[in-house]
C-alpha cells in the first residue's frame, strides 16, 4: 500500500528544479542557489532521492585545469513521474506514482 505522507516543501522545490532542467545535469551549488535550499538540507534530500531511484548521479570531468571533478544530478524516469505528479497536486501524486513518495520527505 503506498504511503500517503506528503513531500516537504523543500523536496517539492528540488523536484521542480530538477524537472525543469530536463535531461541536463545539475550541480549541488546550482540547485541550492535555484531553490534557496541550504546545503545542509539539500544534500540529505539528494542522497535520499538517489537511494529511492528518483535521481541519478554521475561524476563529470573537471571543467578546467586545477578544477576537481563535479558530481552532477538529474531525475530518472521514476523521478520525472513523481515530479509531474507532485506538480499536479499531492493527492493525485499518491495515486499516480504508486511509489514510496513519502519516504523522500525530509
Amino acid at each position: 500500500m503506498p504511503r500517503k505522507r506528503a513531500l516537504s516543501g523543500h523536496a517539492r522545490a528540488l523536484l521542480a528544479a530538477l524537472a525543469s532542467a530536463g535531461p541536463r545535469w545539475s550541480y549541488g551549488y546550482e540547485l541550492s542557489s535555484l531553490t534557496a535550499i541550504r546545503s545542509g538540507t539539500l544534500y540529505p534530500l539528494l542522497i535520499r532521492l538517489e537511494a529511492q531511484g528518483y535521481l541519478e548521479a554521475e561524476w563529470q570531468p573537471p571543467a578546467g585545469a586545477g578544477r576537481p571533478p563535479r558530481h552532477a544530478y538529474r531525475l530518472t524516469a521514476a523521478g520525472r513521474l513523481l515530479a509531474r505528479a507532485e506538480a499536479a497536486g499531492p493527492d493525485r501524486q499518491v495515486a499516480a506514482s504508486g511509489r514510496r513518495a513519502g519516504e523522500a520527505a525530509s
Binding site: R38, S39, L42, Y43, I47, A57, R67, P69, H71
Partner: protein
C-alpha cells in the same frame, strides 16, 4: 577576497567528510568538490557550514541506527557474561533485593531509621565485596582456620548474647542489635563448600553446636541444607561428617520450643507486604527470589564450582523458607542489616568467574588431566612453590 573564510570553509568541509559514514564517501567528495565552483568566499563558507550540519546529523542518525541494531546482541552478550560471574551477579541480586526492600519499607511506613540501617549495611557489604575481591588469591588459603575462628562468635553469642523468649542469638553493638549467625554463617558455609578440610569441619561442628544451643532453627536449617547439598555433591568423608553434625543440630532446634513473636518489618514480610499493596507484595517476593538467582543460573549453565553454588542456593533457600514458614527474618527485603551483610559476605566468597564445564573439549589422556591438587587454582597460586 577573504582567504581566511575560504580556508575555514575547506576545513569545515574536511570535517564534514570525516563525519560522514564510509558508505557516503562519494557524497562527501561531491560536497567538497562543489566548494571549488563557488567563487564567493562567504557563500563557500555558508555552503560548507550547511554541509557540516548535514554530515553531523547523518552521522548521529547512523550511529543511533547502528546502536539500535546492535542493542539485542550486546544485551545478550552482557547477560551471557554476567551469568558466568556468580560473584558479580550475586552483588547485583543483593542490590536489587535491598532496593526492593527499601521501597517496601518506605511504602509500609517503616521508621526511616530502618531504611537507613539497611542502606548502611548495603554500603558496608558492598565494600567488603570489593575488598574480598582484591584478595582473591589468598582468601581460601586459610579457609579452615577462618571457619573455626568464625564459629567462636557464634558460641559466645549462644552463651553471652542478648536473649529473648529463651533464644540467645543477638549481640548489641551500640544502638544496633545484630544477629551474629545471619552475618557469619553463610560465609562460613561457602568457605567450607569451596575448601572442606579437617579444621573447617571442626569449625562447622562448633557452629552447629552453637546454633543448637542458641537455639536458631532457621540458621541451623540453612546450615543443614547447605552441608547436605555439599556432602551429596562431593561425597567426601569430611563434608559427610559436617553435614551429620548440622543435621543433628537442626533436629535439636526442632525439638526445642521456639515461641518468639513476629517483629514488624522483619518477620512475615513475604505476607504483610501484600497488605501494603499487591504490587509491593509481588515485588518483595520477586526480590527475595532474586537471592538464589546466582546459584540457579550458575548450576543451570553447568558451571564448575558446583559445591559452592549448591551450598549458596541451599543456604539462602532455607533462610527464605524459614521466613515464609515461621517468625524468622525475611532477608534483604525486610528490615535487618545482618541479612544484608551475611548475603553480601557469602556472595563475595563465591567464585568470581565460574568456569563452564566444557563438554566439547577434546578428550585428553587420563594421566594428563588428573590433577593431584584438589585446591582451587587461586589457592595454588597463593602457595609457595
Amino acid at each position: 577576497m577573504s582567504r581566511p573564510a575560504r580556508l575555514l570553509a575547506v576545513r569545515l568541509m574536511s570535517a564534514a567528510s570525516r563525519l560522514l559514514p564510509a558508505r557516503l564517501s562519494d557524497w562527501s567528495r561531491a560536497m567538497a568538490n562543489e566548494l571549488a565552483a563557488i567563487a564567493d568566499d562567504r557563500s563557500a563558507l555558508l555552503f560548507a557550514l550547511g554541509c557540516l550540519r548535514a554530515a553531523l546529523s547523518m552521522a548521529i542518525a547512523e550511529r543511533f541506527r547502528s546502536a539500535l541494531y546492535q542493542l539485542p546482541t550486546r544485551s545478550l552478550a552482557a547477560m551471557n557474561s554476567l551469568s558466568t560471574r556468580p560473584r558479580l551477579l550475586g552483588l547485583l541480586c543483593g542490590v536489587l533485593a535491598v532496593g526492593v526492600g527499601l521501597a517496601y519499607l518506605e511504602a509500609a511506613g517503616a521508621p526511616s531509621r530502618h531504611l537507613l540501617v539497611n542502606f548502611a549495611a548495603l554500603v558496608l557489604g558492598a565494600t567488603a565485596w570489593l575488598a574480598l575481591g582484591r584478595t582473591a588469591g589468598s582468601r581460601l588459603a586459610g579457609a579452615g582456620v577462618a571457619i573455626l575462628a568464625l564459629s567462636v562468635p557464634l558460641l559466645l553469642t549462644a552463651r553471652f548474647g542478648l536473649a529473648a523468649d529463651g533464644a540467645s542469638r543477638w549481640v548489641a553493638i551500640g544502638p544496633l542489635t545484630v544477629q551474629v549467625s545471619l552475618i557469619l554463617l553463610p560465609a562460613m558455609i561457602i568457605l567450607y563448600a569451596r575448601r572442606p578440610d579437617p579444621i573447617g569441619t571442626a569449625g562447622i561442628a562448633a557452629a552447629a553446636f552453637a546454633l543448637a544451643i542458641q537455639p536458631d532453627r532457621a540458621m541451623a536449617g540453612a546450615l543443614a541444607a547447605a552441608l547436605v547439598a555439599v556432602a551429596l555433591e562431593s561425597r567426601g568423608r569430611l563434608p559427610l561428617l559436617a553435614s551429620a553434625a548440622s543435621v543433628l543440630a537442626f533436629a535439636w532446634t526442632l525439638v526445642a520450643p521456639d515461641t518468639l513473636a513476629a517483629t514488624a518489618y522483619v518477620d512475615s514480610v513475604l505476607y504483610t507486604a501484600f497488605a501494603v499493596h499487591p504490587l509491593a507484595g509481588a515485588a518483595v517476593v520477586a526480590g527475595a527470589a532474586a537471592l538464589i538467582v546466582p546459584a540457579v543460573i550458575g548450576l543451570g549453565r553447568g558451571m564448575n564450582d558446583r559445591p559452592a553454588l549448591l551450598a549458596f542456593g541451599a543456604c539462602w533457600s532455607a533462610v527464605l523458607a524459614a521466613a515464609a514458614l515461621g517468625n524468622y527474618p525475611t532477608p534483604l527485603v525486610g528490615y535487618g542489616g545482618s541479612a544484608v551483610l551475611g548475603y553480601l559476605f557469602s556472595v563475595a566468597l563465591l567464585p568470581a568467574a565460574a568456569r563452564e564445564a566444557d563438554a566439547r573439549a577434546p578428550a585428553a589422556p587420563v594421566a594428563a588431566v588428573r590433577d593431584p591438587d584438589p585446591a582451587p587454582p587461586e589457592l595454588r597460586a597463593a602457595r609457595p612453590a
